[in-house]
């Protein structure tokens, strides 16, 4: 569905050339739900905008939905849907009119387009909002409308740029439900960017991690997490000193904080029973035990030496606008 090789983009600003994306290879198969994860300014949006024909790559080639990005942009446009960061529905336009018009842009007749709009309004829980002006919708409704707009021509491939940014947790969970449903029921190939770990984790079959314009890792959320050296085990006991000693024998990165001992160990769930027996035999009483699977944040930290959460570097203005 997507095959990109060495896709790169340099922006020229007054301060000189800024390499927003420096040669990325991307392969997405039909039916996949792929996440493009990275901090703000990593080059996610720029890559997405190249793949959707909005900006020209300065280097590299790509085939998107079966057509060459550079020589057949119109063919690509016919087959893809794009839901931008800012949505795309006219703020002062009625919901229904914008949907029908969007269908007509792809050559649907007025009747076909109205039918498709009605169907998507139902599917995305927008029933009864046809005549509402777009800027009176709630954040969640607005986002669902944006997705409905992107689906009017039933694209085989849908791009979503930061779909849940700015939504409250409830709307976010609801949106995820819709995205999953879309993927499961329609088999639409989805390519989304996000800087939220939980979003990538909850939604994606496969994740590409991008940092400073380069893809630094790729794999399923679980495979990525396995790259971090083991699970985190947290034991709260009456004798942290001896617990730490025992922990040091089976795991690594042992840290003691008050009565709590933390350490990392491969496959924590399997190691735990034996550890508990040993602690018990040594007469150490435990008040709490926890095994925590590594998060994508741990993965990002391992890969780049920086935390994804802390990285809120503003994206260069050129890369966004």
């Amino acid at each position: 569905m997507i095959h990109a090789r060495g896709l790169a983009r340099t922006f020229h600003t007054r301060r000189g050339a800024v390499e927003a994306v420096s040669g990325v290879d991307i392969d997405v198969s039909p039916g996949e739900l792929v996440g493009f994860l990275g901090p703000n300014g990593a080059g996610k949006s720029t890559t997405l905008r190249m793949l959707t024909t909005l900006i020209h790559p300065t280097a590299g080639t790509a085939t998107v939905a079966g057509h060459d990005l550079l020589t057949e942009p119109v063919q690509v446009r016919r087959r893809i849907g794009y839901v931008g960061q800012n949505g795309g529905a006219g703020p002062d336009c009625p919901v229904g009119e914008e949907l029908v018009l969007q269908g007509r842009f792809y050559g649907l007749t007025a009747a076909e387009s109205a039918k498709r709009a009605a169907e998507l309004i139902g599917a995305l829980d927008l029933t009864g909002l046809d005549d509402r002006i777009v800027n009176t919708l709630s954040g969640g409704q607005r986002r669902r409308l944006d997705i409905a707009m992107g689906l009017m021509h039933l694209p085989t491939l849908l791009f979503l740029d930061e779909p849940s940014t700015g939504l409250d947790p409830q709307s976010r969970a609801n949106l995820w439900g819709h995205i999953r449903g879309l993927h499961a029921e329609r088999g639409t190939t989805l390519f989304l960017t996000t800087h939220y770990l939980d979003e990538a984790d909850a939604l994606c079959d496969r994740i590409l991690v991008i940092d400073r314009g380069r893809i630094v890792a790729e794999g399923t959320p679980d495979a990525l997490k396995r790259r971090v050296s083991g699970d985190l085990v947290v034991v709260d006991s009456t004798d942290p000193g001896r617990t730490a000693e025992l922990a040091g024998r089976i795991g690594s990165e042992v840290a003691v904080e008050g009565s709590v001992v933390r350490f990392r160990v491969e496959d924590g769930a399997r190691v735990l029973p034996a550890l508990l027996r040993e602690l018990d035999a040594a007469g150490i009483a435990m008040t709490a035990v926890e095994v925590r699977r590594p998060s994508l944040d741990d993965v990002f930290l391992t890969l780049t030496g920086r935390s994804l959460r802390d990285e809120e570097a503003p994206e260069p203005a050129e890369a966004r606008s």
Binding site: R49, T52, T53, L54, I55, H56, V74, R77, R78, I80, Y82, G84, Q85, N86, G87, G88, A89, G90, P91, D92, C93, E97, L101, Q102, R104, F105, Y106, G107, M149, S321
Partner: protein, 252 residues
């Protein structure tokens, strides 16, 4: 492409009609010009040598029309900036819709609005005292439409290139004012000192203003009228080209 242009035209027109404020402004504006501005200009036109031939209203109405087309057209870009920020322009660029249609639909709608205002202004001017040959007036209105179209295309192109209201408004103001002052709309450039007169000749709108005045007194087949028409069409062609390039250009 015609269907696509029509779709964009309709959408844009509905947006304007949905806002009653703009509809009222659009209708009231021509009245204001005639009622509040006309009485001031009539004695000046009558007492100032150098205005072209014709009754004072035949001199004033073309000036108001040109000002309407130019002023109205140059500021339309403002409206697309809100949509640009909401991702509307980008969303349309990802569709297979022709880039020409994306511009043409909007620019033709602005032209239609300006032409409607122009017709209204002309009709309202009749009870004020305008008497002019019908053929000439029609050609004059067509000239204003072409000028309005040129200004609209240029305005959209500029707006999408600067991408911010803060930059757009000052730029338009600084372009509009010298163009207006050097166009001879309000006072004839023939009374200007030689350097100012020479400067005004570099302003393409001078020729359009002169032509509109010429056709209003019935001088349809004169060099003045012809030059003005050619200049207006050239301006429209250049602006259209610039506008389409802007919509084709990435991330515009």
């Amino acid at each position: 492409m015609i269907t696509e242009t029509w779709l964009i035209f309709q959408r844009s027109m509905k947006q304007s009609l949905r806002n009653p404020f703009w509809v009222v402004i659009g209708i009231v504006q021509p009245f204001l010009y005639l009622a509040l501005f006309g009485p001031l200009l009539i004695p000046i036109v009558q007492n100032t040598p150098g205005f072209p031939a014709g009754d004072a209203w035949q001199v004033l109405v073309p000036a108001l029309l040109i000002q309407l087309g130019l002023f109205g057209g140059l500021f339309v870009g403002f409206s697309i900036l809100t949509e640009f920020k909401a991702g509307v322009v980008e969303r349309m660029q990802v569709t297979p819709v022709s880039r020409v249609a994306l511009l043409l639909g909007r620019a033709l709608k602005e032209t239609a609005v300006l032409l409607t205002q122009g017709i209204l202004l002309t009709v309202v001017a009749i009870p004020f005292g305008l008497r002019a040959p019908v053929g000439g007036v029609l050609v004059g209105l067509a000239l204003v439409a072409v000028l309005g179209f040129a200004a609209s295309c240029a305005s959209y192109a500029l707006a999408l290139r600067v991408k911010s209201e803060d930059a757009f408004v000052p730029i338009v103001q600084s372009v509009f004012l010298p163009l207006l002052l050097l166009s001879g709309i309000l006072l004839p450039m023939t009374i200007a000192p030689p350097w100012l007169f020479a400067l005004s000749r570099a302003n393409p709108f001078v020729y359009v203003v002169d032509a509109t005045r010429a056709v209003f007194v019935g001088d349809l087949f004169t060099a003045t009228a012809l030059v003005g028409i050619v200049v207006a069409v050239l301006l429209a062609a250049v602006s259209l080209f610039w506008g389409v390039r802007t919509f084709q250009r990435e991330s515009a």
